[in-house]
């Protein structure tokens, strides 16, 4: 049997025995779950933005107080000799 006719045979087998009917509550249940997915996505986006904002604020405060770009005052002084 050629490959094409075997495929056609399996295709016919797969097409048989379709479920009698779509269950009645399918659409409403899908919408209910879908709305929940959307709400979760909204919450996740919110959390992400809040975290990002908090990180930005924290960094700004740290940078303003520590000022890591300022050169620290020298702690070693050359000894004063020859007076």
């Amino acid at each position: 049997m050629s490959r094409g006719s075997r495929e056609a045979l399996v295709r016919r087998m797969l097409e048989e025995d379709s479920p009698a009917a779509v269950p009645p509550g399918l659409h409403t249940e899908a919408v209910r779950l879908g709305a929940r997915v959307l709400r979760r996505r909204t919450v996740a986006r919110w959390v992400m933005w809040v975290l990002l904002l908090a990180a930005a604020v924290a960094f700004t405060v740290w940078a303003a107080t520590v000022q890591p770009w300022v050169e620290p005052p020298s702690e070693t002084t050359p000894p004063l000799t020859g007076w």
Binding site: R3, R6, E7, L9, V10, R11, M13, L14, E15, E16, D17, S18, P19, A20, A21, V22, P23, L26, H27, E29, A30, V31, R32, L33, G34, A35, R36, V37, L38, R41
Partner: protein, 168 residues
């Protein structure tokens, strides 16, 4: 603004309802083939379909011209692939009441490839991309699945010891 959102919601609801009414039957059949359940008793297929449809509903406003049927089929396939492994593991602990669909003797992966390729007519390349396999692998799995489906079911007591191995 508020009004626009409300009308967008309403439009999404209407379009989605029409989509489910039109495509629900075919998608349910595909899901039933995947789970290898009988058409009359397919709780797993229904659950699978409801979740795939829910994801499609959530994606609805971001489809940007993509066919919602494609999207739903993709969710169906990825969800099934994701859960098949877990179910297989569970199957060892709690053997399922024997599945009796036409694809019952195939592995979940073989069923998935066969349904996508032959029932849904998805191209080999797209199937490969969807499942994260190479095109050759998809072709091999598909051929193996076809051979297994067409092989007559083994009798209650297989008399012949050596079952002919199917080269893939």
């Amino acid at each position: 603004m508020r009004h626009g959102q409300v009308s967008q919601e309403a439009r999404r609801g209407r379009e989605f309802e029409a989509f489910v009414a039109g495509a629900g039957g075919r998608l349910l059949h595909a899901a039933t083939l995947l789970t290898a359940e009988t058409p009359g008793d397919n709780p797993r297929a229904r659950r699978l379909l409801i979740h795939a449809l829910a994801q499609t509903y959530a994606d609805w406003n971001r489809l940007r011209g993509e066919d919602p049927y494609d999207r739903a089929r993709r969710h169906l396939a990825t969800r099934f692939a994701h859960h098949a492994w877990r179910h297989q593991l569970g199957g060892l602990l709690h053997p399922r009441t024997d599945p009796s669909g036409p694809l019952a003797r195939l592995s979940p992966q073989e069923r998935l490839v066969l349904v996508l390729r032959l029932y849904e007519g998805v191209a080999e390349e797209q199937t490969a991309a969807l499942l994260g396999l190479s095109t050759e692998r998809v072709r091999a799995i598909c051929l193996r699945a076809i051979t297994a489906v067409l092989r007559p079911p083994p009798g209650p007591a297989p008399a012949v010891g050596g079952v002919k191995a199917v080269s893939s």
